[in-house]
Symmetry: C2
Subunit: 209 residues, 2 copies
DNA sequence: ACCTGAACACCGTTCAAGT
DNA sequence: ACCTGAACACCGTTCAAGT
């Protein structure tokens, strides 16, 4: 006995010509899979079928799997940058702004641990100058540099070499985030929050005039 | 025409019964492969054939590939701990000892980037309390805690909660190491060294009384 | 006990063929 | 241009069989 067929067939996998925006859709599908199941669970077959598309359709937009992951990383750096500049502005700049920025950074990593890991998984290593990934990563970093330069100009923090100073601050929040993400700080996000506050207080003290 | 057969056949892949120490040999072979070619290049077939052993021999000693990688991570934490305590002692303890410890940490990561990445690749996340990996990781961390407690007792640094203080210092050197390993600091190890010095100076200032 | 060889399910990637 | 389906080489893992 045949099952009753709805008059309007539910959205099914038709011939499906995914015209336009497939590239962006592939990245988003990959991000979703990674954030939910981890990087190891990301297969080109899965990301394709999530969009109702063949597993080789992707090769029209990416040269290989690493290229897709690089795009995922770049996407992450853009999201991170947005979070940083928003935190900086909302906290009214100044030292509170720096503190808010640091906290926003750690929270981003805790919220999207797998995504965060891809961002620092070594793709940046091989990213060419001017590539999408390199540009996005640099832009996120520059948000921090700009804030520090402004604080230096206002005589709020020491006038160290801005690049080195920014790297130091970045390394600290990055380290806090990695320890939180790696589960070294216990099961809950609370450990990450507490450590972030402690560390950011120390960073401020170490930079203060 | 048969090839001439040497009287004493050169050491060849015989039946090869790798009795005793295969477990340790497998870990060492994996470490070598990882440090030379990266984690992605590590296949059970390669690690087996590097020892003249079948690719499934490994399952006598490890439940799966992740289990082997956990052992690799544990091995790394033991090596790291040795480097830390040696640096601390050789620098004559005190603040110079703490500085030497931090530098030894960063240098370890730069020297064995792939190995280092495995150590913080998330296996610690799932490691059971009392497991080899958890024990080795805790021991390395305790080397730092012990040093800080000694400095606190000598009134050299602030009497913060030792665990939180240690996590803060760890996060900083870990962050410096990760940025160096990820290639974010430029091509050479010099960037890592310079940042390490800058950061360790700031950490000292932030903890000083 | 420890190891092997064949087999299985799965993966990234290539490529000729379709619209 | 964009997508498909079959094919290839490779992988982790299982398992019956060998010593």
């Amino acid at each position: 006995m045949p099952l009753p067929v709805p008059v309007r067939p539910a959205r099914k996998r038709r011939g499906h010509y995914h015209h336009g925006g497939l590239r962006e859709a592939l990245i988003q599908a990959a991000v979703r899979t990674i954030d939910r199941d981890g990087v190891d669970a990301l297969t080109l077959r899965a990301v394709g079928s999530a969009l109702g598309v063949s597993r080789t359709a992707l090769y029209r937009h990416f040269s290989d799997k690493d290229s897709l992951l690089s795009a995922v990383a770049a996407e992450g750096f853009r999201t991170l940058r947005d979070a940083l500049v928003r935190a900086w502005a909302q906290a009214g700049r100044g030292l509170p702004g720096l503190r808010a920025m640091g906290l926003a950074y750690v929270r981003f990593g805790i919220a999207y641990p797998s995504h965060y890991r891809v961002m620092f998984g070594g793709y940046l290593n091989k990213a060419a100058k001017g590539s999408d990934l390199e540009t996005a990563g640099s832009a996120a970093f520059r948000a921090l540099v700009d804030a520090l330069v402004e604080l230096q100009a206002g005589r709020v923090i020491q006038a160290d070499e801005p690049l080195l100073q920014a790297r130091y601050v970045w390394a600290t929040v990055h380290g806090v985030t990695m320890l939180a993400v790696a589960g070294t700080l216990g099961p809950e996000a609370a450990g990450g929050e507490a450590l972030a506050h402690f560390a950011l207080e120390r960073v401020e003290r170490s930079l203060s005039i």
